[in-house]
Symmetry: C2
């Protein structure tokens, strides 16, 4: 069983070397919110406005020890972060199955592929095989630029890495092979507009 | 924030009064496995055979305190079970979004509606509004009988309860308004066959 180290207040599993201070809140020009916060707000907006039903999955945790105090809630006293076997977000939009992972980097010139795991890429391939829509949302936090890349496109870069090629996607490649998402007020990250383009292209 | 009490080795949140011994394993005629075990095996079978990609979501946990020992995995030292805001299982089958909740009862003559939560029923309604397929799988553990009931049908019984009617679905009603799933060896609970019938009826 592989365990990950969490990063930041939301405890999203990340490699240890990227963790500086586990309890330090992230700070972006973007109102101090993380990509996850913005996506959760966006998904709430979609839900409230009858646009789509998309939720973030809970962080997977391996529970080892639980105490049951009398007359109060059960307390988990020992547990560990587990590596997710799927992506973080999924749901339904216009009857279609939607599945995506969201990651950000402080790197400004390329997006490191280590942000994804082999089984997540495999999961996205399976989704596409079953006619679902799978993609990644990536944010360059230095410039607050957000892109949506189809899983098919991600797999090309992933395979290049596995064939011994570079371990990241350059910013130029991201720009050429993704769709940029313009930041808005409500919803904050209106990715469904880009999903509409994907549907128009593929179906 | 509402917290639930866990039930059995898998720590699936359940009302306290149903919990007898939290660490006691369930024992069924069915090889000592729970409904969740059987469904996970079934989903693995579907995945391995290219039939569907359906996963159980992780149990939602509110993390309060995490320790970071040197050179070993982060340990969660305090956390609480959260009530799920959606159903437990979702995924894709033939391009369609699939969403369901699975519950079992020791009761032999009726299925108590307290096994579901208001927000889960609301979630299933939203799924149907977006042309997804939502249902519940219910098991009467005394007889090991398993039924699949569409969320539309469940909502009828739910509304009857809210209108002051009975707080459970009688076994006769379950039989009349659900499809029985015959237990098999592999896959154990072949619910996708029933989903095919739902799709044929509704689309």
């Amino acid at each position: 069983m592989a365990f990950n180290y969490p990063n930041g207040r939301k405890f999203v599993p990340q490699p240890m070397k990227e963790r500086k201070d586990p309890l330090k809140k992230f700070s972006y020009s973007n109102r101090g919110k993380t990509l996850e916060d913005d996506l959760n707000e966006t998904n709430q907006y979609y839900l409230a406005h009858g646009i789509a039903v998309i939720h973030k999955k809970p962080t997977p945790v391996q529970i080892v020890d639980v105490h049951y105090p009398k007359r109060s809630a059960a307390v988990i006293k020992e547990a560990y972060f587990k590596q997710a076997s799927t992506t973080d977000y999924n749901g339904v939009y216009k009857g279609k199955y939607i599945d995506f992972e969201a990651k950000e980097t402080k790197n400004s010139s390329s997006f490191p592929l280590k942000n994804f795991h082999e089984h997540q890429v495999e999961h996205m391939k399976q989704i596409v095989q079953h006619d679902g829509i799978a993609f990644v949302i990536i944010r360059f936090s230095a410039t607050d630029s957000i892109y949506l890349m189809s899983s098919e496109q991600l797999v090309l870069y992933w395979n290049r890495m596995k064939d011994g090629g570079r371990k990241s996607i350059t910013l130029e490649e991201v720009k050429a092979s993704s769709k940029k998402i313009t930041l808005g007020f409500q919803p904050r990250i209106d990715y469904i507009k880009v999903v509409d383009l994907l549907i128009a292209e593929n179906f």
